[in-house]
Symmetry: C2
Subunit: 416 residues, 2 copies
């Protein structure tokens, strides 16, 4: 088993030099061929996906999970569209990030280059397979795909269709590698290959990500979870506050950039909380609150210490009335996950104080936390969202999949 | 012991928010006061340094190491100059790296911010203490200094003088922390504090860096060693080739960006090697070579397989005659350390093929590998040199000590 895993990783490693030198046109031709192949193989993909859906039903997975897993003609067309969209994005490799001319005549160019072999570990949605293959190809990085067992047939089918189409367009062997089965021992072995693999991106539940981060010898870019806040300031516009709170909580509660805790300035709590509580309850949201919240809104369950740090990923919201901006920032600092936090205020100074003090990947003013997303940021697609501070923070698109090298051009200069 | 280490690290952690919001003027005032304090305390610093020098002599350290350790009035003035130079550099925090306007009216700003608590582990030269304090203060990062035992008195004295001067100018407690003694257990404990410390930068011998990288739970930016190459191409200018080879090997052989292996195209080997060998030997360089080299230059010791991967850090050079550019690139790929590699050629296409194919932090054309240096790159000073591909590659100056956050400004936008 280990022998096969090592061979797989080495195939990716050996593809790296050729892939890094591949021209934009060659990469885009392959991406467009991959999109055509996905459309042409619709029936095959649907029939392979049915195996996963049937297995999920047998295992009793929730309706929501089964829905995420299922591939139909519309979703498959969406995958093809996404491949075409990546073909249309600018090539992130070979950008001149900076040019310095030195007094001694040296010209120092900082040039973007691929990172190298990327291992992506993900759960559930099969379209991640195609997105990651597209982003890694466009950024010149070999990718090793390790999807979840619940989507194994769909992922393998997509991998087969896409890699065959790419090979026909001259993409080197090893550009895409697929790891189908494998227990935790297999994952641990892979995560020890720091001589072969350059970066690991785990996507999925907090448990998976913590396991990966704990054992990996390879650098990991990740977010553990999204405990996101909206702070309604004393100078907030009431209409915007309602729209943003409802959207951040209820538009898609199962995702990492959904709000989990609402913070309200004490001077507007009595005015704001009754109305928003009614609207949230209409959407089916269960409310848990601090004592002050409970004194204002009847029927709110008391929030425990665990509630403040909880990533519900569900129609549940904790609410806290805070004394002022500082208390709101302090709460976010203590309980947040540095993912996505928003303030609603018409006061520019308060907004600036909030965005300066809140140490999160994305800080929002007068808009929903749900906008922390590569697509919404205009990156085309995303490889994941990072709450780390090194290399990439926030949504990871094509540029975040590159490193750089310095190319220094001289005319015989030597160091004095 | 562990309790004290944890307290030290937490003091740094707690200083991070205030330090990240410190204005440019406040940071520069402190840096200039630190420079004045170093000059004023010249005698104290020299007398504390004498303890280290005496201990080094007792231990029988080499002349070179004792020289690196010694602080005299000139070196102390150099430290003060360096502090002033960092005060004069642009503030790396709060730069707007990118602004995107989205069709829905959102304005997305990518803003540079400090990384957080930085642990620097270093050996030997006491001026590293001052450089790191200056760079971390200017970039808004609390720093924990862990210097080598051989410079303990000098480092502590510099730390005392500099941090007292900074405190008087309002720099918060915890901005600078110093870890004096401590065995490997202490280091391992520190490297496990990934909830408190954000980044580790080890500087020193390969053994130290490998130990740190092996046990650290905190992200590490590093280079293990510099096995640097100069490739003299068939289209090389002979005069430039001689200057660059001599400089890269002999100007300062003890440093990571010095050349360790010379590669020469076979079609110019007979012309080039005899002359350069004489010049290198005049500088005291011992030559080790492949069979072809030895057939051309008498008295060259045979190079073993270990020689090709060796970081001599000394007046020793291995020489290999190669068939062509591809063989040169292959040698560098196999034996190099991805640090600094140079080509000498007048052929633009060959130069481009070399800079494209060689996967090193800095690739040089017609100049010495010795230019891989923050000062030479115009960064003012450097925190270290990275051969990693994530976050920072090549010299690490002020900008490389920052991360970024996204600040998203809206007017009530919600996600559809």
């Amino acid at each position: 088993m280990k022998n096969n895993l090592l061979k797989t990783a080495l195939r990716a490693r050996h593809a790296a030099p050729a892939l890094s030198l591949l021209g934009t046109a060659a990469k885009n031709r392959a991406l467009l061929a991959m999109a055509r192949a996905v459309r042409a193989e619709n029936d095959y993909l649907v029939s392979e996906n049915k195996k996963d859906v049937a297995a999920a039903r047998r295992k009793g997975l929730t309706q929501g999970l089964v829905h995420r897993l299922r591939l139909d003609e519309e979703k498959i067309a969406g995958i093809a569209d996404s491949l075409e969209r990546v073909a249309g994005l600018p090539d992130p490799v070979g950008r001149i990030l900076e040019t310095r001319k030195r007094p001694n005549g040296l010209v120092i160019k900082k040039v973007s280059v691929p990172i190298g072999v990327i291992l992506i570990i993900y759960e559930s949605r099969p379209n991640v397979t195609a997105d990651c293959m597209a982003l890694c190809l466009k950024s010149g990085n070999p990718v090793i795909l390790k999807g979840g067992s619940e989507a194994i047939s769909s992922n393998r089918a997509l991998y087969r269709v896409l890699s065959a189409a790419a090979r026909k367009k001259g993409i080197p062997e090893g550009a895409f590698e697929f790891i189908g089965t494998g227990d935790r021992g297999a994952l641990k072995f892979l995560l020890g290959l720091n001589q072969v693999i350059d970066l690991v991106i785990p996507r999925g539940g907090e448990g998976l990500i913590r396991r990966v981060a704990a054992v990996s010898k390879i650098p990991v870019i990740k977010h553990f979870k999204g405990v996101c806040h909206v702070y309604v300031d004393k100078d907030a516009d009431p209409g915007k506050s309602e729209d943003i709170v409802l959207n951040a909580k209820a538009q898609n509660p199962a995702v990492c950039n959904a709000m989990e805790t609402l913070l309200v300035h004490e001077s507007v709590a009595k005015k704001f909380l009754p109305g928003i509580s009614g609207l949230l309850r209409e959407k089916g949201v269960e409310l848990r609150g601090c004592e002050k919240t409970r004194a204002i809104v009847p029927g709110v369950r008391p929030a425990s210490e665990e509630d403040w740090g909880a990533e519900y990923l569900d129609l549940i919201l904790s609410i806290r009335v805070v004394k002022d901006l500082e208390a709101a920032v302090g709460h976010i600092e203590k309980y947040g996950s540095r993912h996505s936090d928003a303030i609603v205020t018409e006061n520019k100074k308060t907004a600036e104080a909030f965005t300066g003090a809140v140490d999160s990947a994305c800080v929002f003013v007068n808009c929903s936390t749900r906008f922390n997303d590569g697509g919404e940021f205009g990156m085309g697609a995303e490889m994941g969202i990072s709450t780390d501070k090194l290399h990439a923070r926030g949504p990871m698109g094509l540029e975040e999949l590159t490193s750089y090298k310095y190319v220094v051009l001289g005319n015989g200069q030597i160091r004095q």
